[in-house]
Symmetry: C2
């Protein structure tokens, strides 16, 4: 695929497709200690952040991801007082977490401080809760942080990381999930982004299995649109430590703060899986034909 200066292209070699955004200006480019970070001003998606060439977020559609990575878990916990975000350096997840007045402390554990500093500069709306006295920031390795976390100290863990390549691989492992299980208090919940239902079913199924092996007794998947991510269709996986994840405080309709995608009814809708996903999750394997993959 040829490239030119007026477009940002994200090519997905495995899925044989690409998504491109028209760019007005390349606002910033740097190689941090961990990764290549680029900020663009796009024609119609507002500001765009890419890491190592992969789209992380845009002004236009990040509300879908941030709302769905946060509210389903927080409203499924009876009293989410202490919340930890692993990754989430753009602070959008933190902002949504802090909309819940039950939250007493929210700690964002991001590997790369530069992501947060650039978000403060280029995505100020996402950082508008950064000065909330309940917000805490730690910059360092989330895997090690979780290994050293006090047992029975956290209510909800949100893993808002990059894809399972490079530094994020360990965030998709049984060992990490076991550390999460140990750090969670009784009734604790974990939620993690789990890629595209159409393109990445092997990853989603591996996560399901690894979370169970790590000590979670109930694992559920939810799905939502996300135009700038591969296939435009994304998922999160939510795991409960003790028995079924229950929608204990899910609002009957709108939550007590303004949202654009999340609502009580949408909570249940997002957890409603299409039959091909249900079959795959129940059997621990998927039929390639169900996701349109050529038969081996």
């Amino acid at each position: 695929m040829q490239r030119d200066e007026n477009w940002f292209h994200e090519v997905d070699d495995v899925a044989g497709c690409a998504f491109s955004l028209k760019v007005r200006e390349h606002l910033h480019s740097e190689k941090s200690e961990w990764q290549q970070i680029d900020i663009y001003e796009t024609e119609s998606f507002g500001t765009l952040m890419a890491i190592d060439g992969f789209i992380m977020l845009s002004d236009r559609d990040n509300f879908l991801y941030h709302e769905m990575m946060t509210h389903p878990a927080l409203f499924s916990h009876p009293q989410p007082r202490n919340v930890v975000i692993i990754g989430g350096g753009d602070c959008g997840t933190l902002r949504e977490v802090l909309r819940h007045e039950e939250v007493e402390q929210a700690t964002q554990v991001e590997l790369d401080e530069r992501v947060t500093r650039l978000a403060e500069q280029y995505f100020p709306e996402l950082c508008e809760a950064n000065n909330d006295p309940r917000a805490h920031f730690y910059f360092g390795d989330g895997i090690q942080w979780m290994r050293e976390a006090s047992p029975d100290s956290i209510d909800v863990i949100i893993v808002d990381s990059t894809d399972p390549v490079g530094p994020a691989v360990g965030l998709f492992s049984r060992e990490f999930y076991a550390d999460c299980a140990s750090a969670l208090r009784g009734g604790g919940l974990l939620i993690q982004q789990s890629e595209s239902p159409l393109y990445h079913m092997p990853i989603l199924l591996q996560m399901n299995a690894a979370m169970r092996e790590g000590g979670f007794s109930d694992v559920r998947h939810l799905h939502y649109p996300q135009p700038v991510y591969p296939s435009g269709w994304w998922s999160a996986t939510m795991a409960g430590l003790d028995g079924p994840v229950r929608p204990v405080r899910v609002p009957d309709d709108l939550p007590p703060f303004e949202t654009r995608y999340y609502s009580g009814p949408m909570h249940h809708a997002a957890l409603t899986l299409p039959p091909f996903m249900r079959r795959a999750v129940a059997q621990g394997e998927y039929r390639p034909a169900d996701v349109g993959e050529p038969e081996a």
Copy 2:
């Protein structure tokens, strides 16, 4: 945006983005009486059909669209005996309609016979019900066909057309909807593809208003993923002639035939609108900030 021979690019100038599929072979190209039709063999999406440069369908993901354009309406009608499809030349909607044993007659009214002939050749699975004795084919103008249809003769009308540009514009008009309303029997339903909730809210709202003006008393929107269409997130609009559209025969769980995306629970999930869409539909206008558009 530059182009090269190994990729099919669909550029969306308004949304400032593009979706591309890696291509192995350009299988067919023709200018029919009505439009430019191209068939490609892609790397990972199977066969692809494009009309006038816009992706119509791929092997990989057409199940999402075809199931969601069909089963929600047919299971909301108490007895869908006579079904008419306007457009739908690839025959995938017809195939889904004929899975319903209540259907006695299904008529596909496609403007361009070449689309159907090419589908028979390149998408044989979608055409596997074409020899069903209940299937009828008419090639000609769907607007005129509906104007001349016998009153009170149809139970469900499915408008499976291209976008509201060129020959399809009339399929989004009050006049056409009034003709549909007249051709429907009591309790009749209309369903039509209604573009992307994120990119095309003006079209969706215009359709809602025009259907009501055309004589439909209840208009509802549903949404589902569709990776090859702009934003990867698509909608359909379902309108009822007499009172609220009710899920009269929606299965409690799986339908009596195999599906990949549709189920009874998914029926209700798809009709669950995010708050920003509910606000827009209730008010007949949307907030540009809700869909990430720059303020005027």
